[in-house]
Amino acid sequence: MAATQETVEQVQNLELDKYKYGFVTDIETEKAPKGLSEDTVRFISAKKNEPEWMLEWRLKAYRLWLTMPEPKWGKLDLPEIDYQDSYYYSSPKSMEDRPQSLDEVDPELLRTYEKLGIPIKEQEVLAGVAVDYVFDSVSVATTFRKQLLDVGVIFCPISEAIQDYPELVKKYMGSVVPQGDNKHACLNSAVFTDGSFVYIPKGVRCPMELSTYFRINELNTGQFERTLIVADEGSYVSYLEGCTAPQRDENQLHAAVVELITMDDAEIKYSTVQNWYPGDENGKGGIFNFVTKRGICKGKNSKISWTQVETGSAITWKYPSCILQGDNSVGEFYSVAITNGRQQADTGTKMIHLGKNTTSRIISKGISAGKSQNTYRGLVRVAAKAEGARNFTQCDSLLVGETCGAHTVPYIESKNRSARLEHEATTSKISEDQLFYCRQRGISEEDAVGLVVNGFCREVLQELPMEFAVEAQQLVKISLEGSVG
């Protein structure tokens, strides 16, 4: 034990954050006046050159937001948020005249993304992936747009979709996550600045992975993106989002909304690798990640699959959910949530079974290290008419530190006797025997922890698109550095 203790101390003496995305890009920006008011909302709408209906929609949300209470049910120690102490819009100056091609993008931005390992290029490493690059409040570039449009796939910043495809946006925006769903989603509805819009037409299998990379750069600025993906009959798309932010002492707010809609026989596979700055080892700084993600399987035989690897953020509050409306529709939720240092995560899913023979599957792997708190919170609800519904939930927690917490709070509600629901949960300590076995074969203690935890998460990680699975495994390992003991 003595040797282990020593390792723990040594590692703890090192700076906890080996957060390699913590740099700041020095770039001239244009911001909205600080604070939140109707004027802020109007400012954003004007900046985006939005039609009147969009402004009205935002204002309605803003007024509703003023009346809503903060959601309190998460197992989170949450400080009071001063909504007036933040900027709600920040854009690189160079984006004023939107660059017409990738060659015109500000070199400083190009360098930033190069450094983040996702160059703004339509070749090399990311040849099979189209990327929308969102920098603070604006999309700065989107690759492969033309190639996608050739097969009818719309992939563009949502601010452009409002201009170019108003009917689609009007029809679907807010249809899955209504403005008043919760306070964070409501705030997003009022002040969202960018995000991605995807429309896959009937019968089209999207020829490449779509991806959005979110970067918060500016100090004291919140990011409020909104993503809307519509998969029409018989179509398929796989979409991935990644997120990073600089290392700062102040907390920053990220309140996103994601809405997914699948028609008959369509499928959306939505993956997230969330690596926002988690704060330092004393809990200073870090992103407050308040995200509302929900999909509706509108059509029969449709499918929505959420995969998330959550390693970042000071506080994560997020429940990607599926409303299984179409008969035979399928919802899946695969999650790895790792908390270390003083991080807090309260995450899980909701599977609402409405249609007949709907199926859902939940695999959640929580890993708590350091002084963190990690909660799985989930709901499986079977409505009276959801004949033949089926759910399987496996929810495992692994403890890698003596002062962390792992909590499991599932709600299981069935109103249909033919529904079959199975929920299993386990919590245990990382096995000393496994660690010793690895070490006896020459693997260092820290690598052994990484290996064992990656094994523990395998069922989830293998759901990620190939291009990102390796990166995610690395991330799992890095996130646990300094936690062995």
């Binding site: 890698v400 909590h407 709070v409 299981i412 509600e413 300590k429």
Partner: protein, 444 residues
């Protein structure tokens, strides 16, 4: 006797009216305790579905009823000869020690008083009068009183109950049976408070039988404080078989010392609405508890089983097996929380809740919760909901059983699982019989 609607104010009015006549009204600490608790109840009110702990159980049907306290006359009735001598009895044998409560009141006449050496029993008012030691502590020891407004109401209004003390190193071989017979009059409510303490190294079995003699609506709000001392074992079994108009709330708070075992089983077939809360605090190393239950519901019955186990020291163990079968429009609720506190290393906690829905309109809601703050633990919970396995049903029918027989056999086997841990063989047989009988009477 004034009849009041049973919203918050009605209970407060009842308190104001009766406080001078409640047991121990001349004892300062008790009056203060009652006053403090009615104030707490006034502040919190009756639980609503907005309270997380009451998310699945709505007390509106209770609130729509009016209840009064049983009058002094009715208390006398409890001791009269008008009651059938043939009271329901769980265990046939005369060997069981028996206490009888009629509509919430202890009946000396009907109870068997030949308690073995080392066992002391008082009813609440005589215990208060006798100034029983530790009673004050026991009655004011609830850890989370603001979460339990009905217990606060009980403390304010408690009028009877039993105080059972088992001296140290006493092995009570014969079970102590406690009959709570309700239904003597319509629309009465009573608030019984019980205290059980099992001394160092002692062993006892308590069997509580909650039932009634009519279809009257009544509300039994009971609370029990149990302490199981070092190396002691308490088997605490409860059969709740009330009529389908009754409201039952029962809250039991258990503290287990070092090496102590609290073994609990509940068979619930009764009541329009029942909520049975059991909170166990494993305070001493190597203490353990079993919280097992089988529940059955039909028509518009609502059955809520809520448990909470606090592991506070290292090497503590809990096991929970809960099985439920629901027909008609019945609703079953299971909430089970296992909390492993920071210092409680080497905890083992396992919980399983399985429900079977027999009808299209039945509903089950479950919230099994793990809250873990220690790292060296092994905890799990499992939760399922479904209907009878059609393959098994077909298999049995192919072997010649009728559909009804096959269904009864499977449901029976499903429920019997939770009964397995019951230590008393006579009682186990009786519980299994009760399950079979219920299935016959409620074919669904």
């Amino acid at each position: 006797m004034v009849t009041l609607a049973s919203d918050k104010e009605a209970f407060i009015a009842q308190y104001d009216q009766s406080k001078g006549n409640l047991p121990g009204s001349d004892i300062a600490w008790l009056s203060e305790l009652r006053a403090k608790n009615i104030a707490l109840f006034e502040e919190v009110g009756l639980p609503t579905a907005k309270t997380e702990l009451w998310k699945f159980t709505n007390l509106n049907p209770l609130k729509k009823q009016s209840f009064s306290a049983p009058s002094a006359q009715e208390q006398i009735f409890a001791n009269s000869n008008e009651l059938p001598r043939q009271l329901p009895r769980l265990l046939e044998i005369n060997a069981s020690h028996r206490l009888v409560f009629i509509d919430g009141h202890y009946s000396e006449d009907l109870s068997d008083k030949n308690l073995p050496a080392g066992v002391t029993l008082h009813n609440l008012s005589s215990a208060i009068k006798a100034g029983a030691a530790d009673l004050k502590v026991a009655l004011s020891s609830r850890a989370r009183e603001e979460e339990q407004p009905l217990v606060a109401l009980n403390t304010a209004l408690m009028s009877d109950g039993y105080v059972l003390e088992i001296a140290k190193n006493t092995s009570v071989d014969c079970p102590i049976e406690i009959l709570h017979l309700g239904g003597g009059k319509a629309e009465i409510s009573y608030h019984n408070r019980n205290v059980i303490s099992v001394g160092f190294g002692s062993k006892a079995t308590i069997i509580e039988h909650v039932t009634d003699r009519s279809d009257h609506v009544y509300f039994s709000n009971s609370a029990t404080e149990i302490s199981v001392s070092e190396n002691a074992t308490l088997h605490h079994y409860r059969v709740q078989a009330s009529n389908r108009a009754a409201f039952l709330y029962s809250s039991t708070e258990v503290v287990a010392d070092k090496g102590a075992t609290y073994d609990n089983f509940l068979l619930n077939t009764g009541a329009r609405l029942s909520r049975t809360e059991t909170n166990v605090s494993l305070n001493g190393e190597n203490s353990s508890c079993h919280l097992n239950a089988s529940y059955m519901g039909t028509d518009d019955q609502h059955c809520d089983i809520t448990t909470r186990v606090d592991h506070k020291t290292p090497h503590t163990t809990c096991d929970e097996v809960i099985k439920g079968v629901l027909g008609g429009k019945a609703r079953g609720v299971f909430q089970g929380k296992i909390i492993v506190h920071e210092q409680a290393q080497k905890t083992v906690g396992n919980q399983s809740h399985r429900a079977m829905l027999l009808s299209d309109r039945a509903e089950v809601d479950a919230k099994p919760e793990l809250e873990i703050f220690a790292d060296d633990v092994i905890c799990s919970h499992g939760c399922t909901s479904g209907q009878i396995d059609k393959e098994q049903l077909f298999y049995l029918r192919s072997r010649g059983l009728t559909s009804e027989q096959a269904q009864a056999l499977l449901v029976n086997a499903f429920l019997a699982d939770a009964v397995e841990a019951v230590q008393n063989e006579d009682l186990k047989d009786l519980l299994l019989t009760k399950i079979v009988n219920w299935l016959e009477q409620n074919p669904n």
